[in-house]
């Protein structure tokens, strides 16, 4: 158990480190995103043992939200902004989120329906 935690920590750190190096040369993405893709690739091509990192990574993902709290508390520095534009901002966030939900949901559902109906037709033949 303990060695699995060390193993997971080391693999994530190494991926992040490689990500940082790549970011130096190719500053298009944040280092963490490079790190994530490298982590996926290493797991996929079995350079890393997925079974050993599973428990630790799942724990980290369920608890990662706590790291966002300090940035969120920063909203108090913008009291004036919220007072002046708060309702407008919330409305924009609300509407555009629903737009994206509806667009992606409807389009993909339609693609799935089409896929299923052609599959059925072929079955009937």
């Amino acid at each position: 158990m303990f060695s699995n935690i060390i193993y997971s920590l080391l693999s994530v750190s190494i991926c992040l480190l490689i990500g940082k190096v790549i970011e130096l040369f190719l500053p298009i993405f944040p280092a963490s995103l490079y790190g994530m893709l490298i982590f996926t690739a290493l797991l996929h091509y079995r350079f890393l043992n997925a079974k050993r990192v599973k428990a630790c990574i799942e724990w980290a993902i369920t608890n990662m939200a706590v790291c966002f709290v300090p940035a969120g508390v920063g909203i108090i520095n913008h009291y004036e902004l919220i007072k002046n534009h708060g309702i407008m901002l919330v409305t924009i966030i609300f509407l555009t989120t629903f737009l994206l939900l509806t667009f992606v949901g409807l389009t993909y559902q339609r693609q799935l329906n089409r896929y299923e109906s052609t599959a059925k037709k072929e079955l009937n033949k």
């Binding site: 994530v12 750190s13 991926c15 992040l16 990500g19 298009i28 993405f29 944040p30 963490s32 790190g35 994530m36 893709l37 490298i38 982590f39 996926t40 797991l43 997925a50 990192v53 990574i57 980290a60 993902i61 990662m64 939200a65 706590v66 790291c67 966002f68 709290v69 300090p70 940035a71 969120g72 508390v73 920063g74 909203i75 108090i76 520095n77 913008h78 902004l81 534009h85 407008m88 901002l89 919330v90 924009i92 966030i93 609300f94 555009t96 989120t97 629903f98 737009l99 994206l100 939900l101 509806t102 667009f103 992606v104 949901g105 409807l106 389009t107 993909y108 559902q109 693609q111 799935l112």
Partner: protein, 237 residues
């Protein structure tokens, strides 16, 4: 000098522990009640703000003291590679369709959010922050810094977008006849990132798989294209 260091470290420990305890308390509460709107992150923020105001602690002091927590965001993103790895096999077949769809969705909403916010408030900072609200927080924050938006507005916008999609997403999608778990997962992952994904993962395995896929692809697409879109729009507006 030495005294300074000691007081700094004790500040750090104190604020980090307070943040962790508050968060953990709400996380336990959510586990007990199983209500998605009892979001521990949102509730912790809403609890810590009055605390700082009441004890007259300047935010900068709190933020510096909790810097280690903020630093954990980067490894957290790397860890998201694990669910992606788990779902690679499931999703390989429809790869191109999905990427195309998420690409269009992301581009349209970034452009609309940016333009509407500029039109409504005339503040570039706010517009950047709001247009980056559909990606997961660490990436949203990294992009905000790159594009000179406003970190805390982005953080808050991201939480709100996450909550809207997590809470209202499933009933709304069912209402407009989007009933397949795949389509629901994809839509909520695209619009409401990790928060939505975490919330709907309890519905089914398929929801979880498609939602984390959408979250990751949208993050990649947004990181590549949002700087271009925003720089182009700024040019025209």
């Amino acid at each position: 000098m030495n005294d300074n260091l000691i007081s700094e470290i004790s500040f750090m420990l104190f604020f980090i522990i307070v943040t962790l305890v508050v968060y953990q308390a709400y996380a336990q509460l959510q586990k007990l009640c199983q209500k998605p709107w009892l979001n521990p992150m949102l509730l912790s923020i809403l609890t810590l703000i009055p605390m700082l105001v009441f004890f007259n602690i300047p935010f900068d002091q709190y933020y510096q003291a909790t810097a280690p927590l903020n630093g954990l965001l980067e490894p957290a993103v790397v860890a998201l590679g694990f669910p992606l790895y788990q779902h690679i096999q499931t999703i390989k077949k429809q790869w191109r369709q999905i990427v195309m769809l998420l690409f269009m969705g992301a581009i349209i909403t970034i452009a609309i959010s940016f333009c509407v916010t500029i039109y409504a408030t005339n503040q570039y900072e706010l517009a950047v922050s709001l247009s980056l609200k559909s990606v997961t927080t660490p990436i949203g924050i990294a992009l905000t810094e790159q594009l000179q938006g406003n970190n805390s507005i982005t953080a808050f916008a991201i939480i709100l977008a996450g909550l809207f999609g997590a809470l209202l997403g499933p009933p709304w999608l069912a209402f407009i006849n989007v009933t397949s778990p795949k389509a629901q997962g994809l839509a909520i992952g695209a619009a409401s990132h990790a928060l939505g994904t975490a919330t709907i993962s309890s519905i089914s395995y398929e929801h979880a798989a498609y939602s984390s896929l959408a979250l990751i692809i949208s993050a990649v697409i947004t990181s590549i294209f949002s700087p271009m879109i925003i720089n182009t729009l700024v040019h025209f507006l």
